[in-house]
Structures are given as structure tokens and as C-alpha cells.
């Protein structure tokens, strides 16, 4: 597959602090690549350097062969950057906003008019296009926010955690939109700290933590790395101490790793069935009531847990 984006040892330093520590990866034409990592991992910093908003401290990145350092104007013509927060003019209508952003992408006349209608169609807001953005619901604003980044048919679209803090319905709409415009041939660089989103969307996933790209590959490649482990999740009452239980389960025979997320204790194990009885026994001994359990097949969460030693949603 021909790469559209190539990143080589890209790094960003803020004073003494290194936010991104030399990451390297590639995204192929038409591919969806997710950067999966917790808050503070360096996702926004990385994407900002690729969007020419931030000067890299070291390393190189290029879009279709154009360096982000030396040819930012050429790069900007090829990328569509979708800001995490709505970046539109509230007092302009959706259509006025789109025409404005289209003009900044250099679209003219009929072509622009056509593209504006196309993206309105794509995000399903053609009938409301003449309304001012300030009259829109949050979800509708987000859809126009995305549409504005697609007007010039970018080769690759950057989306930085587009679903943070929004309702499940809007989230669904956004994920479906990503798939829809990807179908039209645009590659996607998608950052998230939600494992399910990375799983649902991505052709390939990069796991990033503390500014380092720890692992990258297809989901199958990644899960194969951790072998045939399962994750046993114990859901306990809110009133009870999950940390105490996790600690008690650490040395249970068959448990590789024991971690706490909210009111859950996750155990990585070769066989969930075999540790189940022992886990219940220790919980009872502590007086902790287990409300329900889940047994999960190898997934990205488990991969993250194993390569970083922490749960993705610790924070």
C-alpha cells in the first residue's frame, strides 16, 4: 500500500519535558489509523505537528512526500484538520460557514457550491443549512464542524478525539461519518482514548503512552502479541473498595495482572474460568460483593494493559 503519511522519529520538547519522544509510523492511502492512548499521552501534540500547527523539535513527517517542516502550504492543501472543539462562526449559517472554509481551501465558484452541498448531504444537514450555527444542537454543530474539514477532498483527515464529552447518539453519528468519508477514499488519522472506537474504526492502531509509540499494527497483530490471554472483569458495588480487592487478587494463581478501573477489577489470565472460583473466594473473604462479571476475548484494552501495565481508563 502506498503511504500517504510518513512519520519518522518525530519528537516535541517543551522545555525540559518531552511530550513526544520520537514516534515513527505510516498511514496508507485510504486507511484508517488510530492513535490510542490515555490523556497526556501526546496524541494532540503529535497531530498538531502533522497539521503544521506546531514545529517539531526533531524528526520528520511528510504527507504525500511533502515535508511538514519545509512545505507546510503543500501539506495544508492535502490534509483536512477537524478540530476537537467546534471551530465555526456561530452567527453565520451552516452554509455560510462552509462556503467560507471552502474559500480558504481555495475552492471557487461552481465547484465550491457543489462541494458544500455534497458535504451537507454527507452529514445529513442539508435542510437546516440556512440556519445559523448558534441555533444548532451540539451534535449538529459537530457534524458541520467535521464537514468543514472535508470540503477540499483531503487525502487524509486528522481527527483529534472527536467524541470526547458527547452523548452516545452523536458519537454514533460521528463514527458512521468517519466510515462514510473513508469510503470516499480519504485516509484518516484518528486519536482516541476509547478502545471500542479504535476497534470499530481502524485498519491499524498505534498505541501511544508517555509520548512513545509502544506498539502498532492491525488489531489481529496486536492481540496476537499478548498471546491467548483473556480478561476477567469483576464489577463491584460503588460503596466498596476496588483497590483492596485488586490487591488481594494480584497473587492469585493464574492471574497475570490485576488492575482497577472505576468500580471494576480486571484480571488478565490465560483462562478466566480457572481463576473465577478463586477470585470469588477472596472477594467473599474481604466482604466485597461482586455484582456481575465479564469475560473478554483478547482486545486492545488487554494489549494496552499488558504493554503499559496500566488500564487505558485509569485517568
Amino acid at each position: 500500500m502506498k503511504p500517504i503519511l510518513q512519520v519518522h522519529e518525530l519528537a516535541k520538547q517543551y522545555g525540559d519535558f518531552t511530550a513526544v519522544k520520537g514516534v515513527s509510523f505510516e498511514i496508507g492511502e485510504g486507511e484508517i489509523f488510530s492513535l490510542l492512548g490515555p490523556n497526556g499521552a501526546g496524541k494532540t501534540t503529535t497531530i498538531s505537528m502533522l497539521a503544521c500547527l506546531l514545529q517539531p523539535s526533531a524528526g520528520e513527517a511528510s504527507i504525500a512526500g511533502h515535508s511538514v517542516r519545509r512545505e507546510p502550504q503543500a501539506v495544508k492543501r492535502l490534509i483536512g484538520v477537524i478540530p476537537q472543539d467546534i471551530a465555526l462562526y456561530p452567527s453565520l449559517s451552516a452554509r455560510e460557514n462552509l462556503h467560507f472554509w471552502g474559500q480558504l481551501y481555495g475552492l471557487r465558484g461552481k465547484e465550491r457550491g457543489q462541494r458544500v452541498e455534497d458535504v451537507l448531504e454527507l452529514v445529513g444537514l442539508r435542510e437546516r443549512a440556512q440556519d445559523r450555527i448558534e441555533k444548532y444542537s451540539g451534535g449538529m454543530k459537530r457534524r458541520i464542524n467535521i464537514a468543514a474539514g472535508l470540503l477540499h477532498r483531503p487525502k487524509i483527515v486528522f481527527m483529534d478525539e472527536p467524541t470526547v464529552g458527547i452523548d452516545p447518539q452523536s458519537r454514533r453519528a460521528i463514527l458512521d461519518m468517519v466510515k462514510a468519508f473513508n469510503q470516499q477514499g480519504m485516509a484518516v488519522l484518528y486519536t482516541t482514548h476509547y478502545m471500542e472506537e479504535a476497534e470499530e474504526l481502524s485498519d491499524r492502531v498505534g498505541i501511544i503512552d508517555h509520548g512513545e509509540l509502544i506498539a502498532a499494527g492491525t488489531q489481529r497483530e496486536l492481540t496476537e502479541r499478548i498471546g491467548s490471554t483473556e480478561t476477567l472483569v469483576l464489577h463491584i458495588d460503588e460503596s466498596q473498595d476496588a483497590n483492596q480487592l485488586a490487591h488481594a487478587l494480584e497473587d492469585l494463581p493464574g492471574v497475570i495482572q490485576s488492575t482497577v478501573t472505576d468500580h471494576q477489577v480486571s484480571l488478565v489470565t490465560p483462562s478466566a474460568r480457572e481463576v473465577l472460583a478463586g477470585a470469588f473466594g477472596r472477594a467473599e473473604a474481604l466482604g466485597t460483593r461482586v455484582r456481575s462479571i465479564d469475560i473478554q476475548e483478547p482486545n486492545l484494552e488487554a494489549v494496552f494493559l499488558q504493554v503499559t501495565g496500566r488500564a487505558l481508563r485509569d485517568n
Partner: protein
Amino acid sequence: MKFLALLRKELTVLSRDRLAVVMILIAPLVMTTVMKLAFGNIGNGTNLPIIPVAVVDLDNGQIGSALVNLLESDALSDLIVVTEVEDLETARDLLETHAVDAVVAAPANLTEAIFSGSGGEAAISVYGDPGQPFAVGVVRGIVQRFTQYVAAGSTSVEVTFQQLIETGRLTEVTHAMKGEVGERAAFAALESDLVSFNEVLSGIESVKSEFNWFKFYALSMASLFILFSMVTAARTLLADHELGTLTRMRTTPTSPGTIFGSKVTGMVLIGLVQTIILMLTARYFMGMTWGDPLAVAVLTIIMVLSAAAFGLAVASFCRSTAQLNVAGAAVVMILGAVGGNFMPRIIYPEIMRTLSLIGPNAWVIEAFQKVVLLNGTLSDITTEILALLGLTVIFSVVALFGLRRLVR
């Protein structure tokens, strides 16, 4: 193309912003109308109350008596009424008992001091009743004109001596010589050169007869509201930052110069439109006359430029639009008070008058007064124009430095 798109967006967004429309169009028109209703019927200077003044001539030289003659002349008789007194104590008593509003004192040896070249030590003093700032300001204005005139006269004597020495026709000039010849020259200049002497009078005369509160406020409002509206327009730059639209623009293939240039162009256009509407309204609906068109046009353009730079400089100190709304209004009001938008600066004490020159509005008012009230032309306001250009440069540099943080 992109520039026009940005400019159009700028104007559309502002036209849909209620606060901006009020600040930029409605408020100045309302204020000017109020000024017309309040001051429109107060006619020319003849309606000003006659100001009682005491004069003390301790000089007993030609300049002292020229000053007394000037103050007592017919030309000023409908502006001031003069009592000559023997000494300063008597004059101060009159001032303290409110019998006069101001005292003008020519110090001993004034004539000699000025024409022997050490004029600085012996200056004419004006003491005023603090309760009568306007009256004191008028008297101070008259004395100032007189002093300027005398200074010009003594300089010409100095130059003449210099030429005589340089051409070898005179080898040594003593103080006494200077004093003697200078005295005679000055006397001639003041007393017999009626043409120039009349200039002093006619200058004062025209201030007096042309001074009109409505005209003053009309030009003053123009120079005040341009500051308000440019601060308001500069707000859109911070708004773009807050909305994330500035960052978004930077992800498109659009140069920062185009983005910033369109912003400034938008501000200048809005400023020009505001001022022209204000001027035309005052002209056609309120009987205002604006004076020499070329001078007014040049002054208007430089006023708008300096105000735009000022607005951006103020914005560069503010973290948010909310902060700018409050800080901007406060700064403009203070500058308005200091710069003489509410009261003619002539009545301010010397130090305040100097201090006020840090703001563009004081220069604008000064220049407009020369053009509108004194029928001045472009050549009469070069100092003000240059000062405004200088301020524009300073504000722009401050703004550029401060606003760089928005693109980091």
C-alpha cells in the same frame, strides 16, 4: 480571493454582533444627537460669559505694556474685562474673593530677560480660580499666544545678530547691546508692526467667535467613538482565538499575513464608514461644517489607522473577549477624559495637557479644532499628523508583539 473571503466574513460577523453595531454605529449617532440638542442652540463665543481678569505689570518695559494693551484691547472686550492692579497681593486678594477668575502677572525685568536671551527665567504667570477652569483656560490660551508671539520676535532679533556677526559686520555682542537693540526691535515688532500684532488678535478672535460647543463635541465624539469601535473590532481577533477559528484558519493553506491583513483592513473600513456616517449626519442634519476637505480627509484616515492600531494594542493585553469588553471601555473612557474628549484640553493644567498627548485622541482633537474651528489646512496640522503616525507605529509594534501568542 481568500483575502476578500476573510474580509467579507469579518464584516458579516460584525454586522450580526449587536454589541458591535451599537458601539460602532448607534452610540456615536445618539451621542452626537444629544450634543446637538444640548449645545446646538448655544451660539458662538458671544454667549460665553465675560471673564473678569486682574493684570499686574511689574515689568514696566515694552513687553509688559504690550501685554496689558492686548488684554485691554477692544478685540477682547467681549471675552474678558480687565482690572489693572499694582502688586501681586492685591491681585491675589481679588482672586480669593472671587472678584476675578484669573490673574495675569508680568514679572519684573520681563522685557530685559527676554531680549537678552535669558527669557526662560521670567515668564508671564497666570493664576486661576480652580472653580472656573474654563475661564482660566481661556485666559491661559490668550497669554500663551502672546508668549509664542513674543518668543518668535526675540528669536528674530537673535538671528539678526547672528547674521551680523557671521558677515563680519559686528565683532562682539554684549548683553547690554542685545538688550538695547532687542528692546527697540521688540517694541517695533509689537507696537508698530500692526499686521503681525493683529494676527495674535485675530487668532484669539477666531477661537472666540468660532468656538461652538456643538462643533467641539461633534469632532470630539468622532475621535472618541473611533477608539470604542476599533477596540470592539479588535475583539473579533480574540473571538477568533476563543472560537478556535483562528487555529482552524491556520490549518488551511492561508498565510498568516492574509489572515491578519484582512482583519486590519476590516477594522479600517469599519472605522472609515463609521466616521463618514457621523460626519455626514452632523453636516446634513445638524448644520455642522467640517472645514478644508483635504485636511479633513487626511486627518480622518490617519485617525482611523491610529485607532485601529490602538484597538489591537489594547486587545494584545487582554486574555479574553470578556476582559477586553471591560478593559477596553475603561481605557477608552480614561483616555477620553485625559485627551480632552469631554472638555476642551485648553482648560487643563499644563502637566495634564502634556500627559494627554500619549493618546491619539488628544492629537486628533487638536488637529480637528485647527481645521474645523480655525479654518486650518493640511499644512497647519503636520505636527499632529506626524505624531499620529508615530503613535500608529508604536501601537502596531506593541500589538504585533502581544498578539503573537495567539498563533502559538
